[in-house]
């Protein structure tokens, strides 16, 4: 099975990039590949991953250990399973630094409370002595972020960091990630199924479908002027909290394809309302469509007449 097929993208220093897609679109596999963390028996069969000018794929075991956690940190959806339940939270933050020896043990110890304050954990000096179960979901996610940032990485990968959280807590974690990105200058790759969170946090968006990038570009362009029918449809299929009057949601018929037996041609064509003959047989390439935006589509939404889109 090809979970991720021919993905190419760059993340600039200090940039916030969102990777959006549904389950099985390959967004998490893409992120795990960046750290060479693909679970067995999966493997990266081709491609290059460059961090600065270092090639991640050809790093030795020792180099990759240092790279993960120190240069690039990753936080996950479920902060409870990522924290050790029998160790004090402060110790776990300290351990994250000890593992990489970028700081002396004295420095590491002294950095714990400031790191926890930096992620806005109230009464951090007292809370270092608490165990993970004494923290709420949102506070646990803050601890994970503190651990991730403790080694001053230049890239933070956040995989669905707010999906398990309540909306008021989600709001505070998004604000935190935004502030930390500004304060520390660490680039952020946000992996999510939630387009609204991307609109809130990211400067650039990568839309994935069936293991491919189908569209990519500056956030504003993607949301205001989506060129791939999948992106276009997705944006019209989600209810908006600011909706006035009742607009019927656009329903994308069918299901994402089974990647062990993908359809020929464009992987979205079985669900696409705007397909042409070519889409059935030939897979489109990811091409520039102007304004720094790229789309993988033979048709492009700008070529679809307004009447066909159901717009007045």
């Amino acid at each position: 099975m090809t979970a991720v097929d021919g993905i190419s993208f760059d993340v600039d220093r200090g940039e916030t990039v969102g990777i959006v897609g549904e389950s099985g679109s390959g967004k998490t596999m893409t992120a795990l590949s960046l750290l060479r963390l693909i679970p067995d028996p999966g493997k990266i069969t081709s491609g290059r991953i460059l961090f600065g000018d270092r090639d991640v794929i050809h790093m030795s075991d020792e180099e990759i250990r240092e790279f993960r956690g120190a240069d690039v940190a990753m936080i996950f959806q479920d902060p409870m399973t990522s924290l050790n339940p029998v160790l004090k939270v402060g110790f776990q933050v300290e351990e994250a630094m000890a593992a990489h020896r970028r700081f002396t043990s004295k420095q590491s110890r002294e950095r714990v409370v400031p790191m926890m304050q930096r992620v806005r954990i109230p009464a951090a000096a007292q809370r270092v002595k608490d165990y993970p179960h004494q923290f709420s979901g949102g506070m646990r996610q803050r601890v994970m972020i503190a651990m991730g940032l403790s080694n001053e990485p230049s890239l933070l990968i956040a995989d669905e960091p707010t999906t398990a959280l309540d909306v008021t807590v989600q709001a505070s974690i998004i604000e935190l990630l935004r502030d930390l990105n500004r304060e520390l200058g660490a680039a952020v790759i946000l992996i999510t199924h939630n387009l609204s969170v991307v609109a809130s946090l990211c400067q650039r968006v990568i839309v994935m479908y069936a293991g491919r990038i189908v569209e990519e570009g500056p956030t504003r362009a993607i949301f205001k002027n989506p060129q791939h029918p999948y992106t276009w449809s997705l944006l019209r299929s989600i209810p908006r909290a600011d909706e006035r009057g009742h607009q019927k949601l656009l329903s994308i018929a069918g299901l994402p394809p089974d990647l062990s037996n993908p359809p020929p041609g464009c992987k979205f064509h079985p669900r696409c309302k705007f397909r042409i003959d070519k889409c059935f047989t030939e897979e489109p390439t990811l091409d520039d469509v102007g304004g720094g935006q790229q789309a993988r589509c033979w048709v492009l939404m700008s070529n679809v007449p307004a009447a066909d889109k159901g717009e007045r």
Binding site: P122, S172, A199, R240
Partner: protein, 337 residues
Amino acid sequence: MTAQATQAAAAAAVTAPLLRVENVVKHFAVGAGLLGHATVHAVDGVDLAVNTGETLGLVGESGCGKSTLGRVIVQLQPATSGHVYFNEVDLTKLRGEKLRRVRQQMQMIFQDPYASLNPRMAVGDIIAEPLRNFRIARGRAAETRVQEVMRVCGLNPNFINRYPHEFSGGQRQRIGIARALVLNPSFIVADEPVSALDVSIQAQIVNLMEELQDTFHLTFLFIAHDLSVVHHMSDRIAVMYLGKIVEFGSTAAVRDQPLHPYTKVLQSSVPIPDPDLEAARRPILLSGEIPSPVNPPSGCRFHTRCPIAQQICSEVEPPLEKKQDGHLAACHFPGKL
């Protein structure tokens, strides 16, 4: 029934709500120790009315008691105290066969389309089970009815002998909906029916529920944490916090003029898929954690986190009362945030 009586009954059906919840309390005992047990105040005195044919959205964050309230309404769990009237019949007073009869009218759709379908039963049997339970149809007649409901719910009726694992999440949710629909109920409690589904599938299920409501004149209690989908689905909205309804009104009123500070906070927290609006949105961030329902705060339960709380808020519990036409809030300072 005389023609007059029929007319009177029809008039009553228009004015009287289909479902009325009166001061419902649901407490759970947790743990046991030397000092006795603690009590979780999951639902703590809720009044609610759902009108025939409407969708009432019940929104709140995890642990606010919204699912418990839904389960108490359909009598899946007994209320600790209070009354649930369905067509003016007090369900909390009914037992056995009489309760079963009413239950035929009220069905439930669950959040998790994986856990709520028995993996060992064929889809046809899952959907037909209510028919058999209520001895409404068996054999060929049941099968015909099942296939009819499957078609209505967008499932291929030829898949009647397949098992749940052969279906995707969205299709499973359709099976759950078909099961709820097979008895021709008038009232459906849908507990987070779309939150486990992928984005492109959510719209399919939301649209299906709206179509079914139109076709079969269904009344929905739509329970969800996602304010966007609640706004979209609901005619009226009830906002719940820590076991209490804090605000209740038409969707437009609650959306455009939220009166309770918690509603305002909730709304400001929801991101909108528009980068321009997002650049301007300033969420009101709450300090502290949601208090434990074992030991809820005195006075207004939101006062420990409320940005505009005053002395009185910690002392006197504000009742849920009418502040504007048909718009209720439980707050001493409504609309002040």
